[in-house]
């Protein structure tokens, strides 16, 4: 049986190219979407086995997959933060050859269906999060941290959210104690 794939991608050129490649590889490509506006409903109706989506359209791929036996792959052709890409089951790069894409999809489908509700989260801070934490502990504002680490304020805020979630500590004073106890500050 051919696997059902739904593509969500705003660029017509990329959409057509990928659709043609996947059809050549004998996949059943569902009527593609250009935006994620009706995605939740589309997924319930179309029930694809694989969703290939432009990560700029999707904030929380794991949430989409929740309660569905579906894999979510990111379709990447620009710079996307690694922390965002980590949330996807696979990455399809626009520079990949048909062979590479096929091997990714085969691998993806052979993976056991993970229950995303119970998927064990990684509670270790990433390098970037640690760097942000150190600046937070020094008492810097989001803007100052953004400047110091050459990030956008938005990214700093998103790192801070992850730090709070992972450590369970919300206040700056508490995070400072955490940083000290973990020898993060010299």
């Amino acid at each position: 049986m051919k696997s059902r794939i739904l593509i969500v991608e705003p660029s017509e050129m990329i959409l057509h190219g990928l659709t043609a490649m996947l059809k050549d590889l004998n996949y059943k490509v569902l009527e593609p979407r250009r935006t994620a506006a009706t995605l939740d409903n589309d997924l319930s109706v179309l029930r694809p086995e694989i969703l290939i989506i432009n990560p700029t359209l999707c904030a929380a791929p794991m949430q989409l997959a929740q309660g569905r036996s579906m894999k979510v792959a990111a379709l990447v052709y620009q710079y996307i933060e690694q922390s965002i890409l980590n949330q996807y089951d696979a990455i399809i790069d626009v520079r990949d050859s048909a062979n590479v894409i096929e091997s990714r999809l085969v691998q993806l489908l052979s993976q056991p269906a993970v229950n995303h509700d119970k998927k064990t989260e990684n509670y270790d801070l990433t390098k970037r999060e640690t760097a942000v934490l150190v600046e937070v502990a020094k008492g810097l504002t989001n803007k100052e941290i953004a400047d110091a680490l050459n990030l956008s304020v938005h990214t700093v805020i998103s790192h801070r959210k992850n730090i709070m979630h992972k450590t369970g500590i919300k206040s700056v004073a508490g995070l400072t104690v955490y940083a000290m106890l973990n020898n993060l500050i010299d």
């Binding site: 450590t167 508490g174 104690v177």
Partner: protein, 232 residues
Amino acid sequence: MKNFFFNKQVKLCDVITSYPYLLHTLPRFNISLGFGNKTINEVCVANGVDPDFFLLVCNVYAFDNYLPSAQELTTVDMSQLVPYLEKSHRYYLDKRLPHITHHLERIASQLTDTRAGKAIMMFIGVYREEVEAHFGHEEKHVYEHLKKLLEGKPDRSYSIDTFIDSHGNLQEKLEDLTQIIFKYLPQQLSAEDDAIEVAFDILQLSSDLKKHSLIEEKIMVPYVKQLERSVK
């Protein structure tokens, strides 16, 4: 529904046995232990406490979903509300926080990294200042406002709505502290007994503070609103 809550004819010892946390409230009413088998009504009368007010506080303290009716708030003698709240403040500042700080000092002194110890002491020091500022503001503005309303000399420049909008939560930072103690203290810490004890102390202070703010939000706020309306 009303029957689920306490009433004046119940023995105080039975109430305390079922809800031991209510022990916290007794010193705030100047009720000492050794009350035998007296009912709530008898104990209150003997100690010069209005039994209805005592019940109101106990019910809010023990039952999270208890919400006093507007009628209850008008009939109960509320003259002891501010003294009760102020006594709670003193208890947190003069007893609980010094006790917790003392435990933390012992833990901090046994950490190999002295900076981590200093950060912990800094945390509790700053927290104390925040609590003092929070309580100080309430005593100076909110309780004072209520006292003036009761004296019939309302200060119309202040409204309880200001309090509702700005009433901060003092428990959140304590949660950070318990998380640090549970998860991030170095293992094989020689002060482990201290750490476990202080964790219980913090959890208890946190739940007591939550009850304290429920008393403010469920009794004081609606009561002051009533008074504000009546003097308009």
